[in-house]
Subunit: 212 residues, 2 copies
DNA sequence: GTTTAATTGTACGGAACCGTTCATTTTGTC
DNA sequence: GACAAAATGAACGGTTCCGTACAATTAAAC
């Protein structure tokens, strides 16, 4: 303990690990994992794509599962970032619901998101904690935000929502409708169908929860 | 063409293939495929579980993908069988909707069904036709049946549903709510939450589509 | 410049598994 | 019983991939 610095600034001797390489590895790994799945992903291919030696991957992550966990964490972090939900639109409550529904559907319909959900669901079987991490980073977070919006609208007298958590689920579920399922199973969903589902969801939602 | 029978009754010489063994193979394959996935399923393990030689599998199916397709077909056939939707309950329209919602949720919440959906979704990426076969055997079939029920109730003056296809999606989606997602990602769903979702779905549905 | 640690390339051991071949045995039909 | 096709067991070639080992190189910190 001669001239050790405090625990905060751990002095590292020798060559420090290259954080850029680490990022490239996780990025390449995420692409492969969510493209072809965990089992079909080869570490050697990830190393080649990231422009890195295979040994570096094992030095930094130690294990294939650990690399997978890091890739999931990266993607969840991206999701959290994209969930600002800023710029609440003005206009009637009908218009605001419509805009929110469209934004959510657009966000969830992106092919990368569909693919990500497929893989996470599949790997959740072997690693339950991964599924929960995904729910916490995405769906549950979104539910809380939208639920708060409904509570606010209720307090303003624009809606009459007794159970905002339940109502939030109902609205989102109706917006997704069967389109969610169809996309997950490879059938394209037309923009017309989506618009129809969202408009229908707003109609039903307002019929049930309108303030007047 | 000496004493050939008609094309109908193809005479088979020698030992006929054992249909019981074929069924055992597909059954074992389905279990493994939907338990651990396509890539992680070993033909040799399937053969051992089915009590059959590996060569027999290759003789009967020729390929791992073909065996997978047969397993999917078997499971889809089971789904079609379980979709009789008989015994339409009597009582108020509210009661009938509640019973239907509960039955659907129970059917879809079975662990085997969750697992089956996970795997089909994952393999749909490589084989899009499989996803469509699943949709046709299950969700689309159910949607048509429930849609017809809504049309009937409308004709009887019990409901006022302008677009039964849309309304069917809305009701089912609300019944599933977020429970569907949570189950797919490994989080258990309590019976209380399910009952609450179904009751809420009936409330909202009737608020929007009641006849009076 | 020295030290310390990260990175690289190559190679290896070991395992798993697909799909095939072949000789042998079983089993249903004629 | 004779025939023909199916089933079996074992072995093989080929491939892929994980994870490790080792010697050599590079790069930051002192």
């Amino acid at each position: 303990m001669s001239s050790k610095s405090s625990q905060e600034t751990q002095k590292k001797l020798g060559r420090p690990s290259d954080k850029a390489k680490r990022a490239a590895i996780v990025e390449a790994a995420a692409h492969s994992f969510f493209d072809v799945g965990f089992a079909a992903t080869s570490i050697e291919q990830v190393a080649a794509t990231a422009g890195v030696s295979k040994v570096t991957i094992y030095n930094q992550f130690g294990d294939k599962r650990a690399l997978f966990a890091a890739a999931v964490e990266l993607e969840c972090e991206k999701m959290r970032g994209h969930f600002t939900l800023e710029a609440m639109p003005a206009g009637s409550i009908r218009n605001r619901l419509t805009v929110i529904g469209e934004a959510m559907f657009l966000f969830l319909s992106r092919p990368e998101m569909i693919q990500f959900e497929r893989r996470i669901a599949a790997e959740t079987v072997a690693e339950p904690v991964i599924g929960e991490a995904f729910l916490e980073a995405g769906p549950w977070r979104m539910k809380r935000a939208f639920s708060a919006f409904l509570d606010h609208a209720s307090a303003c007298g624009e809606l009459d929502v007794p159970d905002s958590a339940l109502a939030a689920e109902q609205f989102v579920s109706m917006c997704k409708g069967m389109g969610d399922l169809e996309q997950r199973f490879g059938v394209p969903v037309s923009a017309q169908d989506s618009a129809k589902r969202i408009a229908g969801a707003v109609d039903v939602f307002l019929a049930a929860y309108s303030a007047n």
